[in-house]
Symmetry: C2
Subunit: 191 residues, 2 copies
């Protein structure tokens, strides 16, 4: 076990960027090594193989994201404020960890994810599921399966952030507020 963890982090950072931009299969170990400025062999000092690397990365960011959403969650507040918290959480997390959400999204149903990764991801979804289920009980949320509501929010948000990443849109506060309102209108109950 190495003393310094710098290289390990460099490797993870480069892997995140490359996996997000090109996908797991199109990203080679030498590519990651070059980007991280380490030798190809060094990667194997920290990760048994490419699959362990990608699962480590996946679990790391899913957990971070989950924690970001759960931290300061306004348990007692109104539903709109809770939604705001979750939405802000997505935005903040995306800003802090550039490619992380996109990486998670594009690899959620990948063939190389292990049981632990799938488990962690379902925990993440449960935060949203609980929120929507409670909301539907009080008629604040549209009568659709929670899975469907999650898909609409997540799909829309991430597709949007892809445009921002590519530079086709600028992530102004105004735009983000508008998108939040749009997503809220998509899931809330309309009378």
């Amino acid at each position: 076990m190495p003393t310094s963890t710098t290289k390990r982090d460099d490797i993870l950072d480069s892997a995140l960027t490359l996996f997000a931009e090109r996908g797991f299969d199109a990203t080679t170990i030498p590519m990651i090594a070059t980007d991280a400025k380490v030798g190809a062999g060094t990667i194997y000092r920290y990760f048994a193989n490419k699959e362990v690397l990608v699962n480590t990365l996946f679990q790391h960011y899913v957990t971070l994201f989950k924690e970001a959403l759960e931290k300061y969650y306004p348990e007692g507040a109104g539903i709109r404020e809770q939604f705001h918290h979750l939405f802000q959480g997505m935005i903040r997390f995306t800003n802090e960890h550039d490619h992380a959400l996109y990486f998670i999204k594009t690899h959620t149903s990948a063939y190389f994810l292990d049981a632990e990764s799938r488990e962690q991801f379902s925990h993440l979804l449960m935060i949203f599921e609980d929120f929507f289920e409670a909301g539907k009980q009080h008629c604040h949320i549209r009568e659709l399966p929670s899975k469907a509501l999650i898909a609409i929010i997540f799909g829309g948000f991430l597709q949007l952030y892809q445009l921002i990443r590519v530079g086709e849109l600028e992530a102004s506060a105004e735009l983000l507020a508008g998108v939040e309102e749009s997503c809220w209108d998509a899931v809330r109950h309309h009378s």
Copy 2:
């Protein structure tokens, strides 16, 4: 030029399914050949290489999709009816060409798409862009960049259809109607 076009179609069909299910890089030519019940070499009689194959496929379905949306477009009708036409178009197209939309979505910003493919895809987006721009002029549509509105609709819809493909949700008429309403509420102007 072959007399029958059957094999070419078999190859394209198999490639569509495999690219959609596993992605371009995780799909090998022998896989496609086996699935299509042809020799690996036969694929090269019809397509110069793997990239030409994927671009052919991409352009084919983007064009088909564009035509499906443009056909019977209710030019003079109200905005809600036009939206319904577009949304129904997405649903019908997805039903008729199982993996096509998902394949398009997951490969839209892939590194191997050529200029023609990108061009075709931007034509497709323009249908939605025109619709949203006109709607905003008459205050029927939310004041957000059309690109953002497209991302929300497309992202949400496709994420949802992925759940259906995987079997986590059933594509009942009721569900689809609900999702359409949700998407409409996401983009329409609220007073």
